[in-house]
């Protein structure tokens, strides 16, 4: 596993009157990285691995990190329009969009609206759609658990399930707390999905790769297969011994799966 932090820089970008924080590192093909519900972590080894291959652009979503949250933004649908403006403002073209968990939900909301600037989409253990009957919960309700207990649902590796946060600086703990609140704002009801998503997924018209943790207890592989069926031509890679965050538990396999997908795009 890599341990070196990714070389990159954070800057503030203003889009339609809202200032957000954008981390950028690496060179090459642009890769828009959309973080999960606990925020973007530039120190995560998979970020360094991606930045050694691509130009990674990782915004902190409004309400996360040091990004502002305008009062009117209350849904992932709202966020997706903001991101379409952001993508225009950054003049990103032919980019790969990678969305993880909550970020996958956001990536899908963007892609069902407009893929003009998107070359390919990668959804990692994504939230965001409802497929089953009303009495069957598709997505484990992470919001029924306090932030310090969420890892028990997220990780397959027992050692990762009970992290301590005591060492965090006050500033970082404050940011985590704000991230959790924003996750609650956007994910509360319907629980971690958009009602319309299932009926819009057919609009995704770019090559799509699903990457899933085999032992994900938030959204199962079976749930991932439903995403695969709903998006024309979508492929799925399942990483064994990984839970909801395969990019954390097996960054090498995760990056390799993504790289294979990107390298094969030219041949499609």
């Amino acid at each position: 596993m890599h341990t070196q932090a990714a070389p990159g820089q954070t800057r503030q970008v203003s889009v339609t009157g809202t200032n957000i924080e954008v981390w950028e590192g690496g060179a090459g093909r642009p890769l828009l990285l959309l973080h999960p519900g606990d925020g973007f972590d530039a120190q995560a080894p998979y970020v360094a691995a991606l930045a050694s291959r691509y130009r990674v652009i990782a915004p902190s979503c409004p309400g996360f990190g040091r990004s502002e949250l305008p009062k009117y933004m209350r849904s992932v649908d709202d966020l997706s329009y903001f991101y379409l403006d952001l993508i225009d403002a950054l003049k990103l073209d032919q980019m790969i969009v990678v969305g993880i968990s909550f970020g996958g939900w956001l990536a899908a909301e963007i892609a069902v609206k407009n893929t003009a600037r998107i070359a390919a989409l990668c959804l990692v253990d994504t939230l965001g759609a409802k497929f089953s009957d009303p009495m069957t919960r598709d997505i484990t309700d992470l919001l029924s658990w306090p932030q310090h207990e969420q890892a028990q649902w997220i990780y397959h590796d027992e050692k990762l399930r009970k992290p301590t946060y005591a060492h965090l600086s006050d500033e970082t703990a404050l940011m985590f707390a704000r991230n959790h609140e924003s996750f609650g704002l956007f994910g509360w009801a319907p629980t971690l999905h958009s009602r319309h998503m299932q009926h819009r997924l057919h609009r995704i018209d770019v090559p799509t790769q699903l990457i899933w943790g085999a032992q994900d207890r938030v959204v199962t592989v079976e749930y991932g297969r439903k995403w695969q069926q709903a998006i024309a031509g979508a492929q799925m890679v399942v990483i064994d011994n990984a839970g909801h965050y395969p990019q954390i538990e097996h960054p090498d396999q995760f990056v390799a799966a993504l790289e294979r997908f990107v390298n094969n795009l030219a041949a499609r």
């Binding site: 658990w145 310090h148 965090l168 707390a177 509360w188």
Partner: protein
């Protein structure tokens, strides 16, 4: 002093079951005959209060063995039909979780009309754990609370046709409450809080401020209320604008009263057995508090754990400790009067007392305690408040 009987209408028969008492509790553990008997006994207790000259307060909670009253206004409609004189206080309708302000306004007006103007109304935020049942977004709950509050007040106040409303959280084509309230323009308004900011807001609006069983909150909030009331209204706050809720048990002898107090406190102990994961949904506390809880891996409760001198209390606290904390007033009529008077004097007075009974007390114990309170404590409290310079 006005006194208001309050019972959570608990279902204590399930309190010793090895399941959480809230949110995920199986309803199958509630025996229908027992629950029916308890609800009927509650109505009898309210009728007794009506005869004894006590007022009645109701609240509501959801998905819990500690409170079977699932609709404040529904219960008060029932009680209105069984009583003649008692003022009826809704404290309150939890509009953070009640997601349709129109229905709340209608039910309020209905009860006020049915009772011929005996309703008093608290539109409260409610308990955070109930957001898990109502599914109302906890992060926007604060904004939604005041929007709903002001909309309900506007809907009750307007008598010349509907309101059209297109706000952040609610949309109505024709918001029109028929029948309207009996009292004009609307019933007296109350607020509960443990926060000094809300106390200030209650003062600005001239609402009755109720502090629920936390003496230090009363000590912090009453002066702020008085100060703000004087500033905004240009006159001192009348005594009846301030209220305190306490657990109260009265008996002929001290030992029996303390035992009754212990039974009431079982309610508090059971309430605190809520699964910690449901106490603090996202957005209910400031980021700084949540950051602290993240670092310590804990969650929160507002309950006092120490005596005023800092001594840790027993676990669970004894009746004697809760008497020292002014959470429980328990004893003979003389002792209860003196305990209330000492607290009253220490906070500069208040004109309303919410008298909570229940827990595992029997119906007979509740009725006996209410009779003693009404006949031997209440008259002395009335005399006490009449001598206060800000008596209404």
């Amino acid at each position: 002093m006005q006194s208001w009987y309050f019972s959570e209408q608990s279902y204590p028969a399930a309190w010793d079951e090895p399941v959480p008492p809230k949110v995920t509790s199986p309803s199958g553990l509630v025996d229908p005959e027992t629950a029916h008997r308890l609800l009927q006994e509650y109505i009898v207790e309210c009728k007794l209060c009506d005869e004894l000259g006590l007022n009645i307060m109701a609240n509501e909670h959801h998905a819990t063995y500690t409170c079977m009253n699932i609709s404040c206004m529904m219960t008060l409609a029932v009680i209105a039909s069984h009583t003649k004189r008692a003022r009826l206080l809704a404290l309150g309708v939890p509009i953070m979780s009640r997601t349709d302000p129109y229905r709340v306004a209608e039910e309020v007006a209905y009860v006020d009309m049915l009772s011929r103007g005996r309703l008093e109304l608290g539109l409260i935020k409610g308990t955070a754990f109930e957001l898990y049942m109502s599914n109302a977004n906890p992060v926007t709950a604060g904004d939604r609370y005041w929007e709903a509050h002001d909309l309900i007040v506007a809907a009750l106040t307007k008598k010349d046709g509907p309101i059209s409303y297109e706000g952040n959280s609610f949309n109505y084509r024709y918001l029109n409450v028929i029948p309207p309230c009996y009292q004009q323009p609307i019933p007296p308004m109350w607020l509960t809080t443990l926060s000094t900011n809300t106390a200030r807001e209650a003062a600005r609006r001239g609402y009755v401020l109720a502090i629920t069983a936390v003496a230090r909150a009363a000590r912090a909030s009453y002066p702020i209320y008085r100060e703000e009331y004087l500033r905004v209204h240009g006159r001192p706050a009348p005594l009846d604008r301030l209220c305190y809720l306490a657990y109260v048990s009265v008996a002929r002898d001290e030992k029996t009263a303390i035992e009754r107090g212990r039974k009431i406190l079982r309610f508090v102990e059971t309430s605190e057995r809520i699964e910690p994961r449901f106490i603090n949904p996202p957005g209910q506390l400031p980021h700084a508090d949540n950051a602290r809880f993240l670092k310590t891996g804990t969650t929160t409760t507002h309950r006092t754990r120490t005596l005023p001198d800092g001594t840790p209390m027993s676990n669970p606290p004894t009746p004697q400790e809760q008497i020292i904390n002014n959470v429980l007033f328990a004893g003979t009529p003389d002792q209860v009067y003196n305990q209330i008077k000492d607290f009253y004097d220490s906070v500069g007075g208040f004109g309303q007392l919410l008298v909570q009974l229940g827990g595992t007390m029997t119906h007979e114990e509740i009725c006996d305690s209410l009779r003693l309170y009404a006949t031997e404590v209440q008259p002395r409290l009335e005399a006490l408040t009449k001598s206060h310079p800000m008596a209404a």
